[in-house]
Point group: C2
Chain length 229, copies 2
Amino acid sequence: MCIGGRFELEPLIMSWTGRGGRRSYHHGNLREALISAALDLIAQKGPAGFTFAEAARAAGVSPAAPYRHFRDRDALMADVALRGFQHFERRLTAGWDEGRPSPLTALERMGGAYLAFAREEPAYFSAMFEAGLPVAEHRDLQEAGDRAFGVLRQGCEAIVAALPPGKRPPAMMMALHFWALSHGIASLFARGDAARRALPMTPEELLEAATLVYLQGLGITAKAGGSAA
Amino acid sequence: MCIGGRFELEPLIMSWTGRGGRRSYHHGNLREALISAALDLIAQKGPAGFTFAEAARAAGVSPAAPYRHFRDRDALMADVALRGFQHFERRLTAGWDEGRPSPLTALERMGGAYLAFAREEPAYFSAMFEAGLPVAEHRDLQEAGDRAFGVLRQGCEAIVAALPPGKRPPAMMMALHFWALSHGIASLFARGDAARRALPMTPEELLEAATLVYLQGLGITAKAGGSAA
DNA sequence: TGTACATCAGTGAACGCGCGTTCACTGATGTAC
DNA sequence: TGTACATCAGTGAACGCGCGTTCACTGATGTAC
C-alpha cells in the first residue's frame, strides 16, 4: 500500500533499543503508523470496517495511544481523506505534465491518472468520496478537493485557450463535465475493490472514447486544440 | 421516506387487538418494517450506521426477531440494494416514457430521473453503489443492476436507430458513457446527503449541457435524432 | 361448526465480544543553566 | 559536561455500552377431519 508521504525512517530506527529487538517506550512515528493502518483496514473492509482500536493494535500500541494524535475516529478518517486529496492532486498534476506534448494528449493522460488513482488507492478513494464525511464541515477537506479539481480546470483552460476566441466554451463547465465523467467511470468500473462492475473494455478506453466524442461536440479536434500524439 | 413497494395494510390492521391499542403477538409485516427501518437508518447515518439491533428496535420488536426474515445484517442490506435497483429501474423507465415526445427529450428526462433518484433516495443510492456489497457474489443484485442499465441502453438504441445507417455509433458504448456521466454527476453533486458538493448550477443543467455536447460529438442533433420539445 | 394439531413468528433472557473512552501513571526526551 | 526539571508520548487497567447471536419458549394462525 502506497501511503503518499514517505516514512520518516530515522525516528523509527532510533526508537529501537537494539537489544533483542525490543521496542523503546516511544513509538517514534505513531501518527503516520495509524494512518497507514487505517488505509490498510479501509482497503480490506471498506470505510466502515476500520476502528480506532484496531488501528492502534495494528500499530502495536495501546488503545489509548491514538488519542495523543487524533481527537477521535472521525478526525483520523478526515486526515486520511485530506492526504488522499493531496496525493490525488499530485497524480493529476503528474498526468497533465504541463500539457505536454499537446493539451489533448495530456488531458487523456490526466483522465488515465484519475482512473489509476481509483484503482490503485481504493482506501484513499473511498475515504475521499464514500466515507460520508460532511465536506462542508471540514474546510481543509473542501480546499484540498478544490485544489485537486483546480488541476482539471487548468487543463481545460489550456485547451480552451488554444481555440480561436469565438469558439471557446466555458472552461469551468468543461472541467465539471470531465470530472463527472472520470468520476463516474472510476467509481463504477475502475475502483480497486469488490464493488467494481464488469465492463466489456478497459475503463481507460471507455473514458478516452467519451472524451473524444465530447471534445468533438465542442468543436475541438487534434487539429484545433493541439496535435494528439 | 418512500420505500418503493406499498405496505400491505390489511395484515397490519389485523394484527391489532383493538383493546387499548395493544399490539398482537404477531407483527404482521416485519420484513417490510425492517427494510423501512434500515432505509431510515441508512439515510440518517450512512450505510455503516445501521445495525440489525437498531432496525429491530425501530420496528418495535425483540432483537432476535429479524433472524426469522434475514440470515444476517448483510442479507438485509443486500435486500435493500435489490429493491433499490428495482425502484431505480422503474424511475428510469418512467423518465424515458417510451421515448415520448422525442428520443432526445426522453433521454434528457431519463437523466433527470437518475439525478432525482440520487437526491430523493440517498439510502437506496448508497446501499446500491457505496455499501461495498460485492456485486459479483450477489447474482440477483447484478441482474437487477443490469436490468436498470438496460433501460439506459434501450434509450440509446432508440436514438441510434433514428440515425441514417452509416452514422450509427455503438449504442452500448453510448449507454455506458451516459451511465458514467449521470452517475458521476449524481454521486458528486446531486446526492441527497451531507457529502454533496457545491455546484454553480443545478446538477440537471450540468447533465443536460454535457449530454447535448456529447450528442453533438456523435453528430446527433434535434434534427437528426428526433425533435426536442 | 368444532376440535386437535402443526407450523409460524414472535419473546426475553443470556452470552461473549470488541469498541470508545477515561484515568492516573511513567519512561523517554529535550532544555535551561 | 552534568544536573534538574518540564514536557511529551506512551502504558495498562478499567468502565459502560451496544451489538450479534443463541436458546428454549409460547402465543397466534392455519388446516385436516
